[in-house]
Symmetry: C2
Subunit: 264 residues, 2 copies
């Protein structure tokens, strides 16, 4: 049987993990998934994710791919993986992909959601999945600020300064890597805030062709400064032009961030 | 200043705790709350809960009470406690109560909810808060079975056999203790199943003047046997009459159980 290229769609609660990327002596999603695949197929593999997620970041639709010589039908493998994996990681589907498919290189866009809980006391059941921010915010101004990043921009001001990552082919791309991107230039298609009054939540949705490391959390941290009145909507354009991380706001906490989907 | 009797309303995610009751060298909700009160007031206290909840059981509206000589206003104490407590325990309110108020002895009724997730793959974010049961169930029969326990009954068949607890004044009452109860006789006011199709959940709500240890989870485990067809609705009456734990179904997992409210 020729090797098969398998595409896995998975959801995970990032709370108990030190992020996606495998690390020695630390629980990671990639490492936990790799160990489960090895136990089932007997093969040593390292599934490649569409991008790394940081410690405490969640995924509703992360995608990973790996090559296997195993003959186990894809649907059976999905079931076997869920039997093996902890409940904090769930395989939603496994399917065969073209030989050329690669979860990271083939990604055309990604969508993230950032959840802010606005109520006075954060329900204990939400604490790991939201950022609790009970202070006044001007959502109208945050909406205008969010619109200002739609389109193609150099997002250096919103990228983590990661000295250890260097500027190789991966550049600063840690959270994501997709098509048609040069340096720190990315294209954002959707960038909006929505109020969910019934749930006391304020939710940011962003969709783009790629995201730099910490980019969504840095955008959210900056939009919060606009919401508080520390910055104006017009400052977003200036911050983008400065191409300097210190021009933007603080990195919002990991708990609020959810990778929603990856498009191919 | 005379001693004040304070009533605390709290919510907690039971996942990281070995239950409500303080135990040496184990994280418990009572112990964590007591330590926070001590740090704020300087007094050594043991807040009394309306009842113990087991490891992994959650609360949306648990009530605890304790006496204090501290002059800190109740609202300030609530805020200080939330600053001190982990995000998995939240104080919803603190108020002054009559000298005679006791969270357990004064309780007149309690309401619990048991959440069953019916979808094929349980979202990782729900895993700690539901029981994942993706197999066929006859909800109509479960509804009829649930109705059969409404009213005053001896619930011995649904009570944990706890050799260590003996049959003293506390009897088998571990999850709860309220008014007008003799032995294992309790009165159930509400007992119903509701389907939440949008959320793929099946939710059991039960309200009564008191609950024996494991009673809600044993009722749910038995109703599931009716839903599967192993038992008939008519068997519920027989099981009650047998007054024998082995006549009823298995104890449903702790994760699905939520103490919703305590009435005084």
């Amino acid at each position: 049987m020729p090797p098969r290229n398998l595409k896995i769609l998975l959801a995970y609660d990032g709370t108990p993990y030190s992020g996606w990327q495998v690390q020695p002596d630390r629980p990671t999603i990639q490492g936990t998934l790799a160990a489960a695949i090895t136990r089932i197929t007997g093969e040593t593999v390292l599934p490649q994710g569409s991008g790394r997620t940081d410690a405490g970041v969640h995924a509703l639709g992360q995608v990973a791919s790996f090559m296997t010589l195993s003959a186990i039908p894809a649907a059976n493998l999905a079931k076997a993986l869920n039997d093996m994996l902890p409940a904090s990681i769930r395989v939603l589907s496994v399917e065969e992909a073209d030989e050329s498919f690669h979860a990271r290189h083939s990604a055309m866009f990604k969508a993230y959601r950032y959840r802010i809980y606005r109520g006075k006391v954060c329900p204990p059941f939400l604490a790991n999945y939201v950022y609790h921010y009970p202070y006044p915010l001007d959502v109208g101004k945050m909406t205008a600020a969010a619109k200002a990043v739609i389109g193609e921009h150099d997002f250096t001001s919103f990228a983590a300064v990661d000295p250890e990552l260097g500027r190789g082919p991966e550049g600063l791309e840690r959270e994501d890597s997709a098509s048609a991107k040069v340096g720190n230039v990315r294209t954002i298609f959707t960038s909006q805030w929505e109020e969910n009054d019934a749930a006391d939540e304020l939710v940011y949705t962003v969709r783009g062709n790629g995201f730099l490391h910490h980019m969504v959390r840095n955008l959210v941290g900056t939009f919060l400064l606009v919401g508080k009145g520390t910055l104006d909507c017009e400052d977003i354009q200036r911050i983008l032009e400065e191409k300097n991380r210190s021009a933007a706001g603080a990195t919002a906490p990991a708990s609020g961030l959810h990778l929603v989907s990856v498009g191919y």
